[in-house]
């Protein structure tokens, strides 16, 4: 059986939870073949491949959003002949109407014989008339020149992508909505095969937050962008045959955004508990660890400040920041400078990208101070190794540490509000100074992971999904 995995801005070019998840999935389903479709921004900014793809990966293609550059920008518009239904569907798609006939819209727009290339279509009289009519309806007081170019610049990469060729497979599995989800829809309709969606975070929400903060977009245009991303997501929620998320809260959001409850499931991440040695020795080493990429969303600066407070009280303590600093060099340097500024150079170690197994035994506890998370794989791994966690209350972190309602296993760590260095420091010191609490929480952590977040349930869920849908 062949499964096409569709990812955006992730595997195999960047490290992180989603990439590790993908690698894990493929490695543990060796009897299934995988074809990978990576969607990346551009050819010249393409990072190096970070993973050795397992043997059951039979194809890897990368689609670039900037590949419209390969088209001729001066090609004249062609005449577009569509039936009334096709027009309705296409115009619904272009207006980001979530209720549009997705199948008809996507199939029509992907058909270069029918509408030409993306550039030809966008230069056609048909598109011009459509743009004018929506402009007159909703934007008539806007500067037309800017409106025209803003819309064209949105549509060119979108339509170019939709017209790309894709792999043939028995099941298509998109790992986010957005462009990955959209391509999933394209393949589903084109090849008539089922589509699974797994979301690690809610893509549309994340884009909305980004857009609201973005300084380079005009205010009136932000609404259009936000509607665009939500519409794309809704299309996938409606038409995917199975919609999965990592935890309950996200499932609720997916249903809210248009996914029918019957097909919407929670498949939590899973770790192979067996690969982590059970902890026996709970004596304090005064070492604190944090496994993360050094990027702003992980709020490493708050962590450093919290550690300053801890170190002032407990001068023997050491903080290990375990993870790559390559993704955001500017931020990485700022963190290092902060460490120096606070006089912690002898107590803080940036390890870079290393094998965490070598560090886990020497750590008392782990800390995660993120501003936003889904269901961090690193937390599950740390918990599997029997380490307690101090974590901010974002995403599913409190669910992991404190358990769901029906969970009678005790706490696996302490949950704190984000950005608060005092709370974080206090929680860390509590754990450092109380060996009994540390050991109990550590044991709880491993128990919880064994029961609810083990690798078998994760792999099994998808094996069953693939077998059910792909026959």
């Amino acid at each position: 059986m062949e499964i096409a995995l569709i990812l955006e801005g992730s595997y195999p070019y960047t490290t992180g939870g989603m990439s590790s998840w993908t690698q894990q999935l493929m490695e543990h389903l060796p009897d299934k073949n995988f074809k990978i479709v990576s969607i990346m921004p551009g050819r010249d900014t393409l990072p190096a491949v970070k993973y050795r793809m397992p043997k059951n990966v039979t194809e890897h293609r990368t689609l670039f959003l900037e590949d419209y550059l390969l088209l001729s920008p001066l090609k004249r518009g062609r005449s577009v002949r569509l039936s009334p239904q096709e027009k309705l569907a296409v115009e619904g798609f272009l207006s980001f109407d979530p209720q549009t006939d997705w199948e008809l819209a996507v199939l029509t727009l992907a058909n270069t014989d029918k509408i030409g290339t993306s550039v030809e279509f966008l230069k056609s009289e048909y598109f011009w008339e459509y743009l004018l009519s929506t402009y007159r309806q909703d934007y008539a007081s806007q500067e037309f020149n800017r409106h025209f170019w803003s819309m064209v610049s949105m549509y060119v990469p979108l339509l170019t992508l939709v017209q790309q060729q894709g792999p043939q497979a028995d099941v298509y599995h998109a790992l986010s909505t957005g462009y990955a989800g959209l391509m999933g829809l394209v393949y589903k309709f084109k090849y008539g095969k089922p589509l699974i969606l797994t979301e690690h975070g809610i893509y549309a929400r994340e884009r909305e937050e980004e857009i609201i903060k973005a300084k380079w977009v005009a205010e009136d245009f932000k609404q259009i962008w936000i509607r665009y991303f939500y519409a794309m997501s809704t299309g996938v929620y409606k038409h995917a045959d199975m919609v999965a998320s990592l935890f309950g809260r996200n499932r609720d959001i997916q249903i809210e955004l248009g996914s029918s409850p019957a097909k919407t499931v929670v498949v939590p991440n899973g770790v192979n508990v067996g690969s982590y040695a059970e902890r026996k020795n709970w004596e304090s080493t005064q070492n604190i660890g944090s496994i993360l990429r050094v990027v702003p969303i992980k709020d490493v600066k708050t962590l450093i400040r919290a550690f300053k407070i801890v170190n002032a009280v407990l001068p023997e303590t050491k903080l290990f920041i375990i993870g790559s600093g390559e993704e955001d060099l500017e931020y990485y340097l700022e963190c290092k400078q902060l460490v120096e500024l606070l006089g912690l150079s002898d107590h803080v170690v940036f390890t870079g990208q290393v094998d965490i197994h070598s560090y886990l035994p020497i750590l008392d506890l782990l800390v995660l101070t993120s501003l936003s998370e889904g269901q961090p794989l690193v937390m599950l791994e740390g918990m599997a190794a029997g380490l307690p966690y101090v974590a901010t209350d974002v995403g599913s972190c409190s669910e992991l540490l404190l358990g769901r309602e029906d969970d009678d296993i005790g706490p696996a760590g302490i949950v704190v509000p984000p950005v608060s260095s005092e709370d974080i420091a206090r929680a860390i010191m509590t754990l450092l100074q109380d060996q009994a609490m540390r050991s109990q929480m550590g044991k709880n952590a491993r128990m919880r992971v064994e029961k609810h977040y083990n690798q078998e349930q994760f792999i099994d869920s998808y094996r069953r999904a693939y077998d059910r849908l792909g026959k």
């Binding site: 001066l74 550039v119 380079w216």
Partner: protein, 483 residues
């Protein structure tokens, strides 16, 4: 987490309009200049020849040499002029001044080569004496170079320099002809024709030198990419053929008449048709004032409203405002065209009605009158046609311009050929009808184009920047490397 959709910060919205609708001017001098000066000079020299050259065959030889020189130098250079005008304008806009001097050198090399081929083919086996052939060839070459140089000078708007160069050249011709009439050079054959020709060429040559001196002073720097302009064949190939077809269209009837029973051959080399040629040149004289007026209008008022429209498009205007700006611009255009039409119709009709007594007074042969009447109407159509054609080119309606000139050419060939057997009463009818058809077609195409101007303006932009590719680009590159 992923989500690259939004990190695409490269919104490629930028001022891509800058590429087209800014300081670009399709110099109207390019289209009208050559035939304007041909008309003026030929008429003048005709008078001179009448008075000073006694032997008819010598007179015909002289006139034919001049006429051939003008017509064929234009046919040779007009297509290139249309392309190079565009190239120069773009370079001036991008402030790439060092590209301009070498393009002239490169173009001259090409034109010179082509001219030599044409000359050898034409004069091969001619019975004319060598000295005369050399002079005739010099005339052809000098005129060709002049037409090209004029493009550069007018793109740089050096109208003063142009005027002075022609004044000095003219004075030189006159002075030399007076001297040579008193003390002629002892040519074995074609005594008067040879002397007059020499005088004229000398003056022309002086004009060329003066203009070249100004040219090299203004465009002092060179990047030695002499054939860079060839890549414009990739972009605006139709301009080349538009130039060719237009020039061919206004002269093909003459050539056909020359080769008919109405035409004669002089010294086995040059053809002419006495009545037809004279009538046609006189007729085209009647549209000189209007044409000059129009050229001025184009370079000033029209261009201003043209710029205003595209400024409106680019800056903070709603679509309704853009359409309003376009409508007002179009109104101005139509108003001016109508104004010119009215004036010219008035002039032409007056002259046509008064042709008989006028010709008697001015001492022209009365046999010319009938042909003159028809060709005057043809000239009228051509004057307005030129106006509309230039509008089309300004608005980048290149396909439309090509269609119009192609129709003009084909119609002229077909109709002239069809009417020739019907006798001298129908001479000029081919030119008139084809010019009329072309005129009506051009007006129709222009108005249809202007109605869709916004659509065309926005969608003809390149939606994102791209490298230039194509056969002529690589040809240009290769030639540049070798030169």
């Amino acid at each position: 987490m992923a989500g690259i959709g939004f990190t695409l910060k490269k919104l490629f919205y930028k001022d891509t309009f800058a590429d087209r609708f800014r300081a670009y001017a399709f110099s109207s001098m390019v289209a009208a200049g050559p035939w304007l000066s041909a008309v003026l000079v030929v008429n003048l020299l005709l008078l001179v020849a009448e008075h000073f050259i006694m032997a008819p065959s010598d007179r015909y030889l002289f006139m034919s040499t001049i006429v051939y020189g003008f017509i064929f130098s234009q046919l040779l250079t007009a297509p290139w002029q249309y392309i190079i005008t565009r190239y120069i304008s773009d370079r001036l806009f991008h402030k790439e001044y060092d590209h301009i001097q070498p393009s002239f050198t490169g173009l001259v090399k090409i034109v010179f080569t082509l001219a030599m081929v044409v000359l050898v083919a034409f004069f091969f086996g001619s019975t004319l004496p060598l000295y005369y052939v050399v002079m005739a060839a010099s005339l052809f070459l000098t005129l060709s170079l002049l037409w090209i140089l004029m493009v550069y000078m007018s793109a740089a708007k050096n109208y003063q320099a142009i005027a002075w160069a022609y004044v000095w050249g003219g004075l030189m011709s006159i002075a030399l002809s007076v001297v040579l009439l008193a003390y002629p050079i002892g040519f074995a054959q074609h005594h008067y024709a040879g002397n007059l020709l020499l005088a004229y060429i000398a003056g022309l040559f002086l004009t060329l030198l003066l203009l070249m001196r100004t040219f090299f002073a203004v465009f002092a720097f060179s990047n030695h990419l002499e054939f860079d302009f060839l890549r414009y064949f990739n972009r605006v190939r139709s301009l080349f053929f538009t130039g060719l077809l237009y020039t061919a269209a206004i002269w093909i009837d003459t050539i056909l008449v020359w080769n008919s029973e109405h035409g004669r051959i002089v010294y086995d080399t040059f053809r002419f048709a006495l009545l037809y040629d004279h009538a046609k040149f006189l007729a085209f004289l009647t549209i000189v004032p209007t044409s000059v007026l129009f050229l001025v209008y184009v370079e000033t008022e029209f261009y201003d409203s043209f710029k205003k429209y595209f400024h409106a498009v680019r800056h903070e205007n709603t679509f309704a405002e853009i359409v309003a700006a376009r409508k007002s611009m179009v109104q101005i255009i139509y108003r001016h065209i109508v104004y010119l039409l009215e004036r010219q119709v008035l002039i032409t009709l007056t002259i046509v009605v008064l042709a008989n007594p006028l010709f008697v007074t001015l001492g022209f042969s009365i046999l010319l009158v009938d042909i003159f009447r028809i060709t005057a109407l043809a000239a009228l159509c051509n004057a307005i046609l030129l106006v509309v054609l230039l509008m089309l080119l300004y608005f980048e309606a290149r396909a439309e311009a090509l269609i119009v000139t192609a129709v003009f050419f084909v119609a002229n060939v077909v109709l002239t050929a069809a009417f020739l057997p019907l006798g001298s009463a129908y001479l000029g009818l081919g030119l008139f009808l084809s010019a009329l058809i072309a005129l009506l077609l051009s007006i129709w195409l222009l108005s249809a184009y202007l109605k869709r101007l916004e659509y065309i303006t926005f969608t003809r932009q390149p939606y994102f920047p791209q490298q230039e590719k194509g056969l002529f680009v690589s040809l240009a590159d290769r030639l540049n490397r070798n030169s």
